[in-house]
């Protein structure tokens, strides 16, 4: 009986070890990746990223300083300490890091949680801020580090981490610690610059986060960058119009929304926002025309409300712009 118990325990233990062994590391990304994607170089090292050795527990401020100063800012971990370090937690939180970067008018772009994205950004010259869990899931020790390079031949990730500059970490170890932190990775770039792996919607959301945290000028600049990068998307121009509208710059907003309906005449939201902006700009006739176009384009969305434009208005329409014609017949 006793022996049986020992045997079953041993069996359970082996099972545990086997289970733990199941968390395997995917192979290193192939250099000849999918069509349309750039071929990654074998070895990259961003020598220009400055290095700050972390003091006790303060990997957050040190990493953020490396990210910001690599983009030409001049700050240092001591200053950032106030911003992101929480003494009671002996560390920083992701949200603090993101907010800290935003307060320097930077776009914080979250990467897709896969190594390819990290390698692609680093190859494009953008250091990547990553989060790691150095211990285990139920006893985490969170850590921030900056990826400044990699070596495909050795399969190593080169990190500025803790007190080590350009430390080459074996891929397996990096993958394990990074995966335990949900593969959190961001690039921090000025709003004029587009991340190498940027997707329109994710970039726009990052820009909108800047706007909603009060960094309107940086947000505007990011919207403009998005418009240049993805000229076939109405959303970046809409965002610029909405930003101007929010600042009560009616004529500026009219210009943006007019650009939307000229370039994307089928986009009902553009006509709708143009209508409400024209109303503010004292152009009730044009406002009514624009709204009926929005309604005709998308009756289920805009058709329900009878807008009463022009009541109590004094606008004579002298300074009001002529509208492009609606692509569908209006009621």
């Amino acid at each position: 009986m006793y022996r049986l118990r020992i045997a079953s325990r041993l069996l359970a233990l082996t099972g545990l070890v086997l289970l733990a062994g199941c968390a395997s590391t995917p192979p290193w990304p192939e250099p000849e990746s999918e069509a349309g994607k750039p071929v990654l170089p074998n070895r990259v090292l961003l020598e220009d990223v400055p290095f700050y050795a972390q003091e006790k527990y303060q990997c957050g401020p040190a990493s953020l300083a490396m990210m910001l100063n690599s983009q030409g800012l001049e700050t240092d971990p001591d200053v950032l300490n106030e911003l992101v370090y929480i003494p009671a937690r002996e560390g920083s939180l992701q949200v603090e890091m993101v907010a800290g970067a935003r307060s320097h008018n930077m776009v914080v772009y979250p990467l897709e949680p896969k190594l390819e994205a990290v390698l692609e950004e680093v190859s494009a010259g953008n250091p990547v801020l990553v989060m790691q869990n150095l211990l285990i899931d139920w006893w985490p020790q969170w850590h921030f580090a900056v990826v400044v390079g990699f070596d495909s031949d050795d399969e190593t990730i080169i990190l500025n981490t803790d007190t080590r500059k350009q430390h080459a970490m074996p891929y397996k170890a990096f993958h394990a610690t990074w995966s335990r932190a949900e593969r959190w990775a961001v690039v921090v770039l000025p709003p004029e610059q587009i991340p190498a792996t940027a997707e329109p919607l994710t970039f726009l959301r990052a820009a909108h986060d800047l706007e909603s945290t009060g960094h309107t000028r940086a947000a505007l600049s990011a919207y403009q960058t998005a418009e240049q990068t993805w000229p076939k998307q109405p959303a970046p121009i809409m965002a610029q119009g909405n930003l101007a509208y929010g600042q009560q710059q009616w004529s500026g907003a009219v210009v943006h929304f007019r650009r939307v309906v000229e370039q994307f005449p089928d986009y009902a939201e553009g006509w709708n926002n143009l209508a409400y902006t024209l109303e503010q700009a004292d152009c009730p006739v044009q406002a009514t025309a624009a709204l009926s176009c929005a309604r005709s384009l998308s009756p289920e969305r805009f058709g329900k409300e009878e807008a009463a434009f022009g009541t109590g208005q004094t606008g004579d329409g002298e300074n009001c712009p002529a509208l492009p014609s609606c692509p569908v017949p209006t009621q």
Binding site: R205, H208, A235, M238, L243, E269, N272, E300, R301
Partner: protein, 133 residues
């Protein structure tokens, strides 16, 4: 904890029905400016929808659906009519699904929502389900 587990099936059915009802009655009628956050959300919904439709193109998924007697077009139709909340829910479930078992997970998920909405007479994919009126 174990008591809850005993009723897990019933509880999840009730939750699923509640979810379906909550999303059936949400409207998208609009008056006023369309904000940037809303535009982003809207585009995200379209992107999610497209991703689901792309998944439907996979051979294994179609085979599995055929096994269950559902045609690809019916499911595609249903995906077109999913509300943003339902779509977001799908995306959430997919993101949480461990790699490798995703295909089966998707199918089960599809069917769960479809059967429930069919029960509410929102759709009529399964002839064997009589809807509650």
């Amino acid at each position: 904890m174990s008591e809850i587990r005993n009723y897990l099936k019933q509880v999840s059915l009730v939750m699923a029905v509640l979810m379906a009802m909550a999303t059936t009655f949400s409207t998208t009628a609009h008056a006023g400016m369309v904000g940037t956050g809303e535009i982003i959300q809207q585009q995200q919904t379209e992107l999610d929808r497209q991703q689901l439709l792309n998944m439907l193109e996979k051979q294994e998924v179609q085979e599995k659906l055929a096994e269950m007697g559902v045609s690809k077009d019916q499911v595609a139709d249903r995906i077109q009519n999913l509300t943003p909340t339902e779509l977001a829910d799908f995306e959430q479930q997919l993101a949480e699904a461990p790699a490798g078992q995703d295909v089966v997970g998707i199918i089960v998920l599809f069917l769960l929502v479809f059967i429930i909405t069919d029960m509410l007479c929102a759709t009529n994919i399964f002839s064997f389900i009589n809807c509650i009126r």
